[in-house]
């Protein structure tokens, strides 16, 4: 198969970028999208040109390193991350636009590589349960009904890739923050810090300059881990509880 790639090239964070047309010829349909880019890169290197910088690691859809937007869709067509996209999903001779995640809070570092450290800072503000290693009670001491554990797991499946903010017309990070807060706030272990957590993480998210949620649900549509936007509803609820209890001087 042959493809006309329109790839975003950008030398560094401070230089302006542009699209460059590159031909990907003679690609087998069983090849993954990233493998197609590998082939293109190795050909560029052989021709003495600079390869396209893009990030990937596990290539099985779980590490969340991928940050490609294929034809306007973060993480590409279909469920799963960009590494799970196979060339047989495209038409022979198709023009494919490949861009980096675009969001003000994810500045582009080079070509298709973006800086997602904003998510790290949100996590550090409250994405954890404070506890002491070695001080934990026996695991069987905490009973958690299966439906609760399952719901927490649904949210915990988030791979932290940033596709939600990249897909959002407002660049809102609410699905990510919602997933983190929902995972921990649903569990009994997370209760002592539940309100504080929601409050701290939303404040950190706002500080990073992400946009606001307009309930478009584009995030949910692209989420490689199929996290439901209902986590955003829970975040909205827990955040207000947190702010109100702080405002009125209630504990937590």
């Amino acid at each position: 198969m042959n493809f006309h790639l329109r790839l975003w090239r950008q030398k560094s964070a401070d230089t302006p970028g542009r699209f460059e047309g590159i031909e990907a010829t003679n690609i087998t349909p069983d090849c993954s999208f990233l493998e197609m880019l590998d082939i293109v890169n190795n050909r560029l290197i052989t021709d003495g040109k600079e390869p396209i910088a893009f990030e990937s690691d596990c290539r099985e859809g779980i590490c969340g390193t991928c940050s490609l937007v294929i034809n306007g869709v973060p993480q590409g067509p279909g469920r799963g991350a960009a590494c799970q996209v196979y060339m047989r999903k495209f038409k022979d001779g198709e023009t494919i636009f490949v861009e980096p995640f675009r969001a003000g809070s994810f500045p582009i570092l080079k070509d298709l590589v973006v800086n997602r450290s904003a998510y790290e800072r949100i996590m550090r503000a409250g994405g954890f349960i404070s506890e002491h290693t070695g001080g934990a009670p026996d695991a069987s001491a905490i009973l958690i009904p299966k439906p609760v554990a399952d719901k927490a797991m649904d949210a915990a499946a988030c791979i932290g890739c940033g596709a939600c903010a990249a897909a959002c017309p407002n660049s809102s990070a609410m699905l990510f923050v919602g997933a983190k807060v929902t995972h921990l706030n649903l569990l009994p272990q997370g209760q002592p810090e539940a309100k504080k957590r929601a409050r701290a993480m939303v404040r950190a998210m706002d500080e990073e300059g992400f946009g606001n949620c307009s309930n478009y649900y584009a995030c949910e549509a692209v989420c490689p881990a199929s996290v439901s936007a209902s986590v955003i509803a829970k975040l909205n609820r827990d955040y207000i509880k947190g702010e109100v209890s702080e405002a009125v001087g209630a504990i937590d």
Binding site: E99, G104, N115, S117, A125, G211, Y216, E220, S230
Partner: protein
């Protein structure tokens, strides 16, 4: 946890984006409840509920046009008799609309700042046309409200209507409405406006449940359907009046549709 520690401890701090910071957006209110993204969305949602209640109450009042001039004129007379209290209601309504719009504009400006560059290929990804057009529909509805107030409350376009009195000596609202909607352009603008209002509501209603945190994955489709149905009912209710005037079902002098009601 200290926020300074957070920033210092970022390994890639040299690369980290300069947070644009949102807390300054609402400089008048110091409470994070009112300046945070979610806090202001709650304000939009709660004012939205109040406005939906107003729109529904207003519709019920308007529908009194069908039984005849007696009903609608009495209703208008009753409203006017509230005197200064009516002004309190009007000011409260104005404040609600003001808050609804101010917060929305702030959020919108922040959203623009958060998305400096669009994708080369646009892909709407699940978002409905209703959701994407909220700002547009909202703006047109605001323009219409101003026109609507000028036409029927202030009666500035056709001041003679202020002098129309019915048999009981009340302001003849019935005649004024029919006169107003007899102009096809006025009716067309009205229909367009209530159509856009319905679009606005069909996203707004389900959206406010999500914002207030009342949605679950199971309930969301339910709320979405409810939003569309309520929006449709409101549209049909409002749209029926100019349509009835244009079709001659409602006319002046009044011809009763039902012999038992006068």
């Amino acid at each position: 946890m200290s926020s300074t520690a957070n920033k210092e401890s970022t390994g890639t701090s040299s690369l980290s984006s300069k947070p644009s910071g949102k807390s300054s957006a609402c400089c008048t209110c110091s409470s994070p409840l009112l300046s945070s993204s979610i806090g202001r969305k709650w304000i939009v949602a709660i004012t939205g509920i109040l406005l939906i209640l107003f729109v529904s109450g207003h519709l019920l009042g308007n529908l009194t046009i069908y039984p005849g001039p007696n009903w609608i004129n009495a209703y208008a007379e009753h409203l006017q008799s509230l005197g200064p209290f009516l002004w309190v209601i009007r000011l409260v309504l104005l404040a609600i609309v003001g808050l609804h719009i101010t917060c929305t504009i702030q959020l919108w400006m922040e959203n623009r700042a958060a998305t400096p560059q669009k994708y080369a290929v646009t892909n709407t990804l699940q978002t409905t046309i209703y959701a994407r057009s909220m700002r547009l529909t909202g703006l047109v509805v605001i323009a219409f409200i101003i026109f609507h107030l000028a036409q029927f409350t202030w009666q500035g376009f056709n001041p003679v209507t202020r002098t129309w009195i019915d048999a009981q000596g009340r302001h003849d609202v019935y005649r004024m409405v029919i006169a107003g909607f007899s102009n096809p352009f006025v009716s067309a603008f009205y229909l367009l406006a209530v159509g856009l209002l319905a679009m606005h509501l069909s996203h707004g209603i389900s959206s406010l449940f999500q914002t207030l945190g009342l949605t679950t994955a199971k309930l969301r489709p339910l709320f979405e359907r409810a939003g569309r149905i309520i929006a449709l009912v409101i549209f049909l209710g409002y749209a029926s009046i100019p349509l009835s005037v244009l079709l001659g079902i409602l006319r002046y002098p009044h011809v009763s549709l039902c012999p038992f009601v006068h």
